[in-house]
């Protein structure tokens, strides 16, 4: 059992489980974000954000989510460093083999995602927690007015471009990651693996499209 934390296959198992967890989380996150464009009333989103930052169940989930991210990142980095060490002398002419294209750039797409995540956390999460954001009062209750803040931001082109670019790279990460996780979990099948590969593309497209739709919609509103 303990080899799960130390062996190559064990570490990959843990990171792929964390990866699948993040994949599901992204869908939920996207759903909540889309509230801002689906409903004209910004308070729908603000109320959802309020629940997200105060509800006890969500708080528990948040800890699990952080754990998931940390687990995924720490094991990914350990494995990646071991992989670099496993070939100390590089080929002069390499990589002409026919392979899963995005697989070769997982660490790069991951690091771009990580940069985005750090900015995202500083920008948003900390504000939600420790309250520097503008407030609105509805029915005598104060809410952070994230909706207006987001709308203000996405009226500026550089934010829109940065945001979409980050998601495109995350999409590249997911095209390979989604189907790779299945193989890591030991699932491979003549008939179903092509289906999983197809779903990986659909899922990544939905994530990139869904998240990117928001700034584009707001910018052109």
């Amino acid at each position: 059992m303990s080899s799960i934390f130390t062996s190559s296959l064990g570490k990959k198992l843990l990171m792929s489980l964390a990866g699948i967890f993040l994949i599901i989380f992204l869908l939920v996150h996207m759903g909540i974000n889309l509230l801002i464009v689906i409903f004209d009333d910004p308070m729908v989103y603000n109320k959802a954000a309020h629940i997200m930052s105060t509800n006890i169940l969500i708080k528990i989930f948040e800890i699990i989510l952080f754990g998931g991210f940390l687990l995924h990142m720490i094991y990914a980095l350990i494995l990646q460093i071991q992989n670099w060490v496993a070939r100390p002398n590089r080929y002069n002419k390499a990589n002409y083999s026919n392979t899963s294209f995005f697989s070769k750039f997982m660490i790069h797409t991951a690091l771009i995602t990580l940069v985005f995540l750090v900015i995202h956390m500083m920008d948003f999460y900390l504000k939600a927690k420790f309250g520097h954001a503008a407030e609105v009062i509805v029915d005598g209750k104060a809410y952070h007015d994230f909706a207006s803040e987001i709308i203000d931001k996405f009226k500026m082109l550089p934010f829109v471009i940065f945001y979409i670019a980050a998601f495109v790279f995350l999409g590249f990460h997911l095209v390979h990651g989604f189907q790779s996780a299945f193989k890591t979990l030991g699932m491979d099948h003549k008939k179903y693996t092509p289906v999983v590969q197809f779903l990986a593309i659909i899922y990544s497209t939905i994530i990139v499209g869904g998240f990117s739709f928001i700034p584009v919609y707001i910018y052109f509103l």
Binding site: S7, N83, A86, R87, Y91, S97, N98, S180, K183, G186
Partner: protein, 245 residues
Amino acid sequence: MNLKLKIWRQKDPNTRGKFVNYRLRDISADSSFLEMLDVLNEELISKGEEPVVYDHDCREGICGACGLYINGRPHGPDSLITVCQLHMRKFKDGDTIVIEPWRARAFPIIRDLMVNRNAFDALIQEGGYVSVNTGSAPDANAILVKKEHADLSMDAAACIGCGACVAACKNASAMLFVGAKISQLALLPQGKIESNRRVMDMVAKMDELGFGNCTNTGACEAECPKGITLTNIARLNREYYKATF
């Protein structure tokens, strides 16, 4: 054909190697790649220079000894063959051909293009066998094996241990090789008995020897001369989980 060769020359494991350029004239398009190298070596010997050292044995694609990284691909620009089965007609007159050894921490270079693949032997010693007496040929029919399993096991058994999978993998991972060995044995009743111990031992050994970790990139499958597929890696994962939990 006239060719330009760019070959990795390295005196011994501890000296730094470098590329040396050679020119070859009038090579027959019908000669094999290794014959082309033999021609080069004869020229070098007649000039009093050291010949290029490379591994080879059967020259009929079954032993797995030959292994060269040619123009960015293990076993060169063709699929499902070893270098000894590669012919010069796959190249064009005037081509520059870059020839390198397998590069992996677990496969140290002995000299020039020859690497030490003892790491694979160490893996086999760790579990690439069955310890039960399986009897002689007539006993083969005593234990029934599903046709499907027999076929999958035979497919996995086609692995010749050449190391192209490690050479091709961006992580220098040995998962395809180990996956093939695990599959070959775990699919048969004779190999099932010690399948848990085998997979734990072989994975531990694989990590200890300094091979990288699998990222399901698929370069191994693309370059394996014997058509071993990623399915065997997925099965290795399953066998590992079965033995662990």
